[in-house]
Amino acid sequence: MNQESRDAMIECDGLTKRFGSFTAVDHVSFSVARGSIFGFLGPNGSGKSTVIRMLCGILEPTDGRARIGGRDVLREGEAIKEMIGYMSQKFSLYDELTVNENLLFSGKLYSLRDRDLKKRRDELIALTHLEPYLNRRAAHLSGGWRQRLAMACALMHQPTVLFLDEPTAGIDPVARRELWDLLFEFAGRGMTLFVTTHYMDEAERCSHVGYIHMSKLIVSGQPDDLKQLPEVTPTGTRRLDVTCDHVTQALQAMRSVEGVRSATVFGQSMHLLVDDAITRADIEKKLLGVGIQRAEIHVIGPSLEDVFVALTAKYANENQGEKAA
């Protein structure tokens, strides 16, 4: 057993879930180190929630195995439940209960004693700033506060692993930022976090990411390592950021240039993947041709989005090749 697997808090090995003839999760394997934040990305319906549910022991895998803290999800499910916290997509709270009662209920579920219950509640209230809403019913909380309450509820029993299924869906940017600050704080205290998200900026903040597409895990690793992958920036190409006026026209112009493999708009600039043969002068000349006088051009590294786009395209190509063969 090497160093990495001894420190692994979550391990999946060939995890598979089939619903009838539909394979929702197809031989997914990865491991998440203790104290890290694992960002799990993928489009809707790609199998993210199914993986979480299997890891939480509420959905039985069809094949493969998963371990949390070294315990098998299937055989030691009840023991695992004591150490995990789960915050579902819907922020499942009891609308009829007040903030305070929701917290107490969550603690009681895990058999917290009265004194610990109150102490833990007060800690979490301080952490999430929920005190002005203590006696408000959960039904009357806004999205951001519901999310905080749901997270506080999931943390009442001090789990060592916390699963968050799209915790920032439909939340305003401030609440989103504050949630991530909290997540970093937890990770700093040694908690392992497993977060699904759609946001690329959130993925960039994770210590590890995994990308699932069409039920298969396409890639997992540290964001910086993934950006170094040869498939993302093929040999003989580089990525450029071009900032200029009339970006839309510039984009059209650049797409017609041979040697420009892809061109995407990012706000006031565009990102190009070009063959090394294409020089700055070539680009400036082409832009001048459509009446754009000035352009700032820099060489840039790939973003995580570039990584996922490149790998998805590669995966789709390979799959097509398989089908053709």
Partner: protein
């Protein structure tokens, strides 16, 4: 599993708050059964009194008048109209203005005085068999009584040769409410309670809160019992109100032990709530829960002996009745409330009902998987 009821305290804490915080739900759980009880109690009365009767009297003598008086004096009939033809008599019944038509022919008194059989024709609307049967029985009894009186007079004897002296036990005045109201309690309780637990669990499925419970170390026995107990309290409150109405509105006397009555009710409500939980283990949404609950409730209205005696049913329906908790509850209520049955007399039925309650609860807890999908 070291603690089989783990999490029970948490679920009770939550359920009681949820139930008590929503007075409208509580009101709509308690109020309709009380209305149903009163409505059923009054509607289900097959003591037919003052049945509408039309008369076509072609005789018009003192004797024929006396015959009509006998009909009216039974309180079963009331004369609404006298008509002038046999056609009119028939059409009054067809139009629904009367249930019965009595035609006394012109030679009625003549035949009577001459010692010949004096005949009168009675038309009965058979479309309502209960009413028709009672009309027939009463009319036949009237003829027999008068015949007997006449024969006694002629023979000079003072008493009839054979006499049956009936004594009604347990419901001496043969009041319908005494028979029906305990049964109505069984039916009304079933409607209120089975839905309650079915909905309480299915609602959590719909809202996604059940998933949250499943990731916790909560045990399924703890969850099921936690869902059941609050509604057991409400169900018993409902039962006490229904017994109150039974006793103080319908004046049904309670012959047996009130403790036994309450105990039987507790077991019955527990069985019904477990049935609701069983529905919830299968139903995915509230609509399905509603339909499945109805599938259990309807047979118990027909096959529990609530209205129709089970003994006259075909074997298959008799058997169906034997697996319904309502059958045993209604039997127990009639035994305890009306007949004042003692412990060992009602024990077999109470035993079966208790067994059903325990079995239903165990099945629903075991069927409930701590998994989704």
């Amino acid at each position: 599993m070291r603690r089989p009821f783990r999490g029970l305290g948490a679920i009770l804490f939550k359920e009681f708050i949820v139930v008590l915080r929503d007075p409208m739900t509580l009101f709509f759980m308690l109020f309709p059964p009380l209305i149903e009880m009163i409505a059923f109690g009054y509607a289900l009365d097959n003591d037919v009194k003052h049945m509408a009767m039309v008369v076509f009297n072609e005789d018009r003598t003192v004797e024929s008048r006396q015959l009509l008086d006998r009909f009216v004096n039974t309180e079963t009939f009331r004369i609404v109209r006298e008509v002038g033809s046999a056609t009119a008599l028939a059409s009054e019944i067809r139009a629904g203005h009367a249930y019965v038509g009595l035609q006394i022919p012109p030679h009625f008194t003549r035949d009577l005085r001459a010692g010949r059989p004096a005949q009168a024709q009675l038309l009965i609307d058979g479309s309502n068999s209960t009413v028709a049967l009672q009309a027939l029985n009463t009319a036949v009894a009237i003829a027999l009584t008068q015949s007997t009186e006449n024969l006694l007079k002629e023979s000079g004897r003072h008493a009839v040769p054979v006499e049956i002296r009936p004594q009604m036990l347990y419901n001496p005045t043969m009041r319908s409410p005494n028979f029906f109201v305990p049964g109505v309690i069984g039916i009304v309780l079933q409607i209120g309670t089975t839905f309650a637990t079915a909905m309480a669990v299915v609602r959590e499925k719909e809202r996604g809160t059940l998933e949250q419970l499943l990731v916790s170390p909560l045990s399924r026995w703890g969850l099921m019992l936690g869902k059941l107990i609050p509604y057991l309290c409400i169900g018993m409150l409902m039962a006490f109100l229904l017994f109150g109405i039974m006793h103080f509105v319908f004046f049904v006397p309670i012959a047996g032990s009130i403790v036994a009555m309450v105990l039987a009710t507790l077991v019955y409500v527990f069985a019904l709530l477990s049935l609701g939980l069983l529905v919830a283990t299968k139903a995915e949404n509230q609509m399905q829960a509603l339909q499945m609950s109805m599938a259990f409730i309807l047979p118990s209205v027909f096959f529990s002996g609530f209205i129709f005696p089970r003994e006259t049913m075909p074997a298959i329906f008799y058997g169906l009745g034997a697996v319904l908790p309502t059958t045993y509850f209604i039997w127990l209520m009639r035994a305890i409330i009306l007949r004042g049955a003692t412990f060992f007399e009602y024990l077999p039925s109470l035993g079966i009902l208790s067994l059903m309650a325990i079995l239903l609860f165990c099945v629903c807890a075991l069927r409930f998987r701590k998994k989704i999908g």
